[in-house]
């Protein structure tokens, strides 16, 4: 591929822009310069590290290394879901619900794309598997975090309504259905908006990257469409699954609302 290689000098010039911005914010006393510089440094270090990891992974392409990498990504994403909950489930449920839903949906979508659609040889070819899984996990994580957070916050705030419906003899599913619908909405809205705006408001990053790397635009567009659909399915099924598991956990076998299973995050 005909990529123009970037020298450390090129990156330093771009870094000067960030440093200039930090200097300006510090001068006008906005108190952002420190976090700007820290985040910029983190970007450099983290991306260089993952670059090294991927380089090694590509050179020693073996299924168990790819699987190990995928497992680390999943566990970190699971932790991230927990960190974004205002009220989280007690015990292992906080971690388990999000991670299980992400595992089932993001991994299924990735494996499906690799084996049935793209078909590299071998199917777990890291050059395809890791970026795909990364994009799917990242988006699924956001959807699940938003959906679960909305579910538990609403259940907490609307406990009177939920119990009011239970005492009239509604089942737990009926009593929570409105809240479940809202939670699914807030989990799926970002990806629905992204699909609607793609190409008009924003040029998706993956497609842009491929074009800059020399891929013909129509090929890049097709990949982008594929990835959008995979992300939508992964996020959608993952969010719905997490909301189902979470709402089930909010009730016990006697269909009582069990807010004692939540704690402040």
């Amino acid at each position: 591929m005909n990529v123009i290689a970037l020298s450390p000098m090129d990156l330093s010039l771009a870094a000067l822009l960030v440093i200039a911005l930090a200097a300006l914010t510090s001068r006008v006393g906005m108190g952002l310069s420190r976090s700007l510089l820290v985040s910029a440094t983190r970007t450099v270090v983290q991306l260089l590290l993952i670059g090294l990891v991927l380089k090694t992974l590509f050179e020693h392409a073996a299924l168990h290394w790819v699987a190990g990498m995928a497992a680390v990504m999943l566990l970190v994403a699971g932790r991230e879901v927990v960190a974004r909950q205002g009220r989280r489930f007690t015990g292992w449920w906080a971690y388990g619900i999000g991670t299980l839903a992400m595992f089932v949906s993001a991994f299924t979508a990735t494996v499906f794309a690799l084996t049935v659609i793209i078909g590299p040889a071998p199917w777990w070819e890291p050059q395809y598997a890791i970026p795909l899984l990364g994009m799917l996990l990242g988006n699924t994580m956001t959807g699940i975090a938003l959906g679960l957070d909305r579910l538990t916050q609403s259940a907490w705030q609307q406990r009177r309504v939920i119990e009011g419906r239970l005492i009239l003899g509604q089942t737990w599913t009926e009593a929570i259905q409105d809240i479940r619908r809202e939670a699914a909405r807030s989990g799926l809205m970002p990806i629905i908006n992204a699909m609607a705006a793609a190409g008009i408001v924003s040029l998706p990053g993956m497609m842009t990257g491929q074009i800059m790397a020399g891929t013909p635009p129509m090929e890049a567009v097709k990949y982008q469409i594929l990835v959008m659909f995979l992300i939508t399915a992964g996020t959608g099924f993952g969010t719905l699954g997490a909301i189902w598991l979470g709402s089930r956990r909010l009730f016990d076998e006697r269909e009582r609302l069990r807010l004692d299973r939540l704690k402040l995050g």
């Binding site: 005492i167 009239l168 003899g169 269909e255 009582r256």
Partner: protein, 221 residues
């Protein structure tokens, strides 16, 4: 009903109190939550049993435990059937709990009511177009009366009433008392009625219990 028990070893409880001579409807044994009990109570068909007591004594917690909204231990039977043989929802349809401050979630009154049963709405002074009213505009008294209709529409066998007339004027209070009385008589149902109003207690009659520190004691008169 207790076909597993032999009469010799477990004689039917002798009713030392003035329980009515009608079939046993709800039988509560050793009901306990972290805050209340253990307590025993039985309700007979057609009967009103009243519960009085200072606020914070656990009266609402008692009703919540009976309707299985809070975790609790103990045996409860409805017409001889243990509570665990019903689903949570099925139990709450038969043991209808009317809290002091019932919740409304949809925009209009009609969305909270089942169709039919216009006679109850009329008896409580509403015209049929009440179904189109928005909930926001209801007064607290209107909410209380409509909440009663809402719970009666499940045709509960037992009513658990938490100060159902607290926000009503004397006329509406009497109407509501009469309506509940009529329902209990027509359906052979029973009610556990929490009331703070001494006049109401003497109007309603029946057995009176006092709740204090989570315990029930039967009062005389």
């Amino acid at each position: 009903m207790n076909e597993f028990r032999t009469p010799e070893r477990h004689p039917a409880p002798v009713l030392m109190d003035d329980s009515p001579d009608t079939p046993l409807l709800l039988e509560i044994q050793q009901l306990r939550t972290p805050q209340i009990g253990p307590l025993d109570l039985s309700l007979h068909a057609g009967e009103v049993v009243q519960v009085a007591g200072p606020s914070g004594a656990g009266k609402s917690l008692l009703l919540r435990a009976i309707t299985d909204l809070d975790r609790n231990e103990g045996q409860i039977r409805l017409e001889g059937h243990p509570r665990h043989t019903f689903s949570g929802a099925g139990w709450r349809r038969r043991v209808g709990y009317l809290p002091a401050d019932p919740a409304w979630w949809a925009d209009t009154v009609g969305e909270h009511l089942q169709s039919g049963d216009e006679h109850w709405l009329e008896a409580l002074g509403f015209t049929p177009d009440v179904r189109t009213w928005t909930v926001d505009r209801l007064s607290s008294g209107e909410r209380q009366r409509l909440a009663l209709v809402r719970v009666l529409q499940n045709r509960p066998r037992v009513l658990l009433l938490d100060e159902p007339t607290a926000n009503l004027d004397p006329d509406n209070t009497r109407t509501m008392e009469r309506l509940i009385r009529d329902y209990l008589r027509e359906s052979d149902a029973a009610a556990l009625w929490v009331s703070h109003d001494a006049d109401q207690r003497s109007r309603l009659g029946g057995r009176l219990f006092t709740m204090e520190n989570g315990r029930l004691t039967e009062s005389n008169g």
